[in-house]
């Protein structure tokens, strides 16, 4: 069964810390995405990548960066965590060129990050 694995289910960090959220997929997918999900706001795209070493800003990239050194791994970095970054973070992947696939996205189980 295809899988997207996020390294932590729950994480508590202090304001100002540098935070790494890891995502690994075992499906050889070209495209990977980071979303955050908040009550009343839905899923919002932070960053995405269509290929190794490639990254594109989504709708809310401020305060975040990403790294994709290997095809299977896409990391989200919070440079200096703030309380307004408390959220559920979801990683997704999909095959195909340029981000589209008729088979949809495969999501990880999410990381619930609390910044105190």
């Amino acid at each position: 069964d295809v899988k997207v694995t996020q390294s932590s289910r729950y994480l508590v960090k202090r304001t100002g810390e540098k935070v790494f959220l890891e995502c690994v997929q075992d499906m050889d997918h070209e495209n990977m995405f980071w979303y955050r999900q908040d009550p009343g706001l839905g899923l919002r795209l932070i960053y995405f990548s269509y290929d190794v070493k490639m990254k594109e800003k989504g709708d809310i990239p401020e305060g975040y960066s990403v790294s994709r050194e290997k095809k299977e791994r896409f990391s989200l970095i919070l440079e200096s965590a703030s309380t307004n970054q408390t959220s559920m973070y979801l990683c997704a992947s999909t095959p195909g060129t340029g981000g589209f696939s008729a088979s949809g996205y495969t999501f990880g189980s999410g990381t619930r990050l609390t910044v105190v």
Binding site: G42, L43, A102, G104
Partner: protein, 109 residues
């Protein structure tokens, strides 16, 4: 700006009935619409994709329609079961998906 809207109110429905959810979009003409299911504390799971030239798509007890004139997609769960209780999300986009906020369905035994 592009917008995709789903009814924010939860849909409570009796077991065995058909649940119908609506997804409306504005300022955009997507070539595809996708539907996902999300359970509490979990990531969304892909259910169906419908293309703009397809009026209807079915998968088991699920049916999706796509009306490009009304700029609307309807999602039906027939013969609903308590296990269908979840939040259902619609999404569009060719190379990066934008999601609606989701519509919760509660199937009452």
């Amino acid at each position: 700006s592009q917008k995709i809207e789903q009814n924010s109110e939860a849909l409570n429905i009796q077991e065995g009935k058909t649940a119908t959810l609506t997804c409306n979009y504005t300022n955009y003409s997507p070539a595809y619409l996708q539907w996902y299911r999300q359970d509490p504390g979990r990531g969304p799971v892909f259910l169906l994709l419908i293309r703009e030239n397809e009026k209807e798509k079915r998968k088991e007890r699920l049916k999706v329609t796509f009306d490009t004139t009304l700029k609307q997609s309807l999602f039906h769960i027939t013969a609903s079961q308590p296990a269908d209780s979840a939040t259902y999300l619609c999404a569009y986009g060719n190379n990066r998906l934008a999601f609606g906020k989701g519509n919760q369905v509660v199937v009452i035994p």
